[in-house]
């Protein structure tokens, strides 16, 4: 079964953003961490703890069901994969996500969805993230 991204070690996070930079760089050819499918943010400012907004890899993904053009297809192991050519830019997948982690690329007019590729895990220097198999 393909693995999915999990973030069990966020208490160790130092907020370096290397994970987001890796996702934006590899998957979206962007310098900006805003262009990452997973987002690390602070709760209550920098004095609060860091949390990760990540795709929870739904097995029957609401974002897939919301897509009228079949541009999002169910990923084996959980989550969704984008078939770019089919996307009509309707944005219906964005509000469909129960945990609000389908982001919108306003330039490309396509959703930013996690592929569970694991590159963010590779670039985390503190072991906050991992790829895991779920039942």
């Amino acid at each position: 079964m393909p693995k999915i991204l999990q973030a069990p070690g966020m208490a160790k996070c130092i907020g370096c953003y290397s994970c987001m930079l890796a996702c934006a760089r590899y998957n979206y050819r962007s310098y900006s961490p805003k262009h990452s499918a997973m987002q690390v943010k602070t709760q209550g400012g920098i004095q609060g703890r860091f949390v990760a907004d990540i795709c929870r890899a739904c097995v029957d993904a609401p974002c897939v069901r919301a897509c009228p053009a079949d541009a999002l297809v169910q990923r084996r192991g959980g989550g969704a994969l984008l078939v770019k050519g089919k996307c009509i830019g309707c944005e219906q997948c964005v509000p469909a996500c129960p945990v609000r982690v389908v982001y919108w690329d306003g330039v490309q007019r396509t959703p930013i969805v996690c592929r569970h590729c694991g590159l963010c895990v590779v670039y985390c220097p503190h072991g906050c993230l991992e790829m895991a198999v779920t039942s």
């Binding site: 962007s30 961490p33 805003k34 220097p125």
Partner: protein, 585 residues
């Protein structure tokens, strides 16, 4: 701008509440950061008017590699220093470089004075001048929280703000950024206060596409590996800069009780090891740096009988442990953390505050100033008096309070005790009593910081050093650091960004430079800074160190005024050989 042949500069006039954007191709060869800021400052500074004149500029600049390569996280601020009256330069990390990059600007130039307390909101689409009367008078911590709540922001946010010390024009007031980082030195906080500018909120919400993915990705991965998998930056993550406490103490180079000693008997108790073992709670990074050098301690304080506790999270570093610890004879970690927490909220530079309090303690012992007038009784090792004195410096109105707000050097000019006011070149001395190179380096460095030219490192080289070696070493190092700070590389990563690495990183984003280009750039920027300082009235030829710093034996033994005078003369001869090209702007 990334992949453009210009730097995008936003000019902000607080008096007229107007903004203007300029695309400056002529600044492109300066890369950004300190280089671009030096030129922008020299264009806008008014040499005839005072430091608090509304026309004086405040410049912020980032560099071409900022936040798109690991550990390139700094923004450079340049201004006319309220503390020295000449070139003000200070660097800060946090999220400011990230926010500024994706707000779409390489540099900001702020002039004018707002009619009412104001804060600036800035993103890729707009600049807003917002009322800050409600925030005026609040501490840095609460101001940050309120701005975070008031402005939701769409992008990655950076929140600069001043505390009461900046509002009250304390000459060494700092600017707080993201709670735990600062534009610490030379009084940028007072420069903002004089403009009635309580804070600057920057939201980085735009996007920039990578142009040459294979090349950029390859170099990024190589640099990331150098940062995280080699020993080049290990110490900064491990114990952090407080690692220096014990080695410097062993060398007799840890200034103690206002430079009366070079060793502190309680060094063990305030060492990096002790802080890490007993107080360290977590580590944090600036955005885009995987090191995590920001060490946060838990300060637990009993405020009532029984089990009544409050807690605060305080960032600590070597310079703070020195200035508020050994320098004030304070050997307990909680006491140091209390002092850091208090001056952070008031918005004061830790080094200048500690050095000024050290002078005041001795001045009080000697009867030059009175505790009644200060409203606090100062004695080495006594935390309570210092906590009170920090509040007095930030907000007090007595003649003595305002004198201390100008720094130990100025206060000593009024009350006596110049020989034990530990200022060098007009700025408070950093915590390295290593020898001549350290003292000369801080006196002649462009911002009078140990980071300008690392004289302390020259002193720690083996063997006797000739005057020639010291002077040449300082100038070459400062030129090289002018290159690094134009790239906006964090100086902790200076060994990572050797020339081949810097050139490869620049090439991957389409900037081709040779080592010769970078050599000339460093020399040019350095000479321009010297030229600005001279035009502001800084006199390199009459530099003297306070007697205390020569008498108290350094790591290299006692120092003589004669040899230091000789070094100053030799330095001036070197400086005269190469004046600024073209007379600058």
């Amino acid at each position: 701008m990334l992949h453009e042949n210009y730097l995008k500069v936003l000019y902000i006039d607080l008096s007229a509440q107007k903004v203007r954007v300029a695309r400056r191709e002529d600044l492109y060869p300066y890369l950004g950061g300190a280089g671009a800021a030096t030129v922008l400052l020299s264009e806008t500074i008014d040499y005839r008017k005072g430091v608090f004149d509304p026309g004086q500029p405040i410049v912020f600049a980032i560099g071409p590699l900022s936040t798109i390569f690991p550990a390139v996280t700094k923004a450079v601020a340049m201004f006319r220093s309220p503390l020295t009256g000449n070139l003000g330069e200070s660097h800060a990390g946090g999220r400011i470089a990230l926010a500024l990059r994706y707000a779409g600007y390489d540099a900001l130039v702020i002039t004018g004075r707002a009619a009412q307390p104001t804060y600036l909101y800035l993103d890729s689409n707009e600049v807003r001048f917002k009322p800050a009367q409600t925030l005026w008078g609040l501490g840095a911590e609460e101001t940050g929280r309120l701005l975070r709540d008031i402005e939701p922001g769409r992008g990655h946010r950076s929140i600069m703000r001043i505390g009461p010390a900046g509002e009250n024009l304390v000459r060494y007031a700092n600017v707080n950024i993201e709670t735990y980082r600062h534009f610490g030195r030379l009084g940028l906080g007072a420069a903002l206060g004089a403009k009635k500018l309580k804070g600057i909120y920057i939201s980085g919400d735009a996007d920039v596409a990578i142009q040459n993915f294979p090349e950029y990705n390859k170099v990024y991965a190589q640099v990331y590996k150098r940062v995280t998998e080699t020993s080049l930056m290990e110490k900064y993550h491990d114990l952090g800069t407080p690692e220096n406490v014990l080695p410097l103490n062993a060398l007799g180079a840890l200034p103690t009780r206002n430079f009366q000693q070079g060793q502190f008997e309680a060094a063990e108790a305030i060492s990096g090891e002790a802080f890490a073992q007993y107080d360290l709670m977590r580590k944090l990074s600036c955005s885009g740096c995987p090191i995590g050098c920001i060490h946060i301690a838990l300060l637990r304080h009993q405020f009532g009988k029984g089990y009544e506790f409050e807690s605060s999270f305080v960032s600590y570093d070597y310079e703070l442990i020195y200035a508020l610890g050994s320098f004030l004879g304070i050997g307990d970690r909680a006491g140091i953390l209390h002092l850091i927490h208090r001056l952070d909220d008031q918005g004061l530079d830790a080094i200048a505050t500690g050095i000024t309090l050290g002078w005041a303690t001795e001045a009080m012992q000697k009867g030059l100033i009175a505790s009644g007038e200060l409203g606090a009784k100062l004695a080495f090792g006594e935390v309570e008096g210092y906590l009170r004195a920090i509040d007095v410096i930030a907000t007090g109105s007595s003649e003595l309070a305002r004198a201390l707000a100008e720094g130990a050097q100025t206060a000593a000019g009024r009350y006596g005790g110049r020989e034990f006011a530990a200022f060098l070149g007009g700025n408070a001395a950093a915590g390295y009593h290593t020898g001549y190179a350290n003292i000369l380096g801080q006196m002649v460095g462009a911002r009078h910081s140990h980071l300008d030219n690392a004289g302390y490192a020259i002193d720690q080289k083996a063997g006797e050093l000739s005057d020639e070696e010291i002077v040449q070493g300082l100038i070459r190092e400062e030129e090289e650091r002018c290159v690094l700070t134009s790239l906006c590389v964090c100086l902790f990563a200076r060994k990572v960004y050797d020339r081949p690495t810097s050139r490869a990183a620049l090439k991957s984003i389409g900037i081709a430079v040779t080592d010769g280009d970078l050599d000339r750039l460093g020399q040019d920027i350095y000479r321009r800074k010297v030229w600005i300082k001279k035009r502001c009235g800084f006199d390199y030829s009459s530099l003297r160190a306070p007697g205390r710093l020569l008498e108290t034996p350094s790591m290299r033994g006692a120092l003589t005024a004669e040899r230091l005078d000789g070094l100053v003369r030799l330095f001036n001869r070197e400086l005269e050989k190469s004046e600024v090209p073209g007379g600058a702007a």
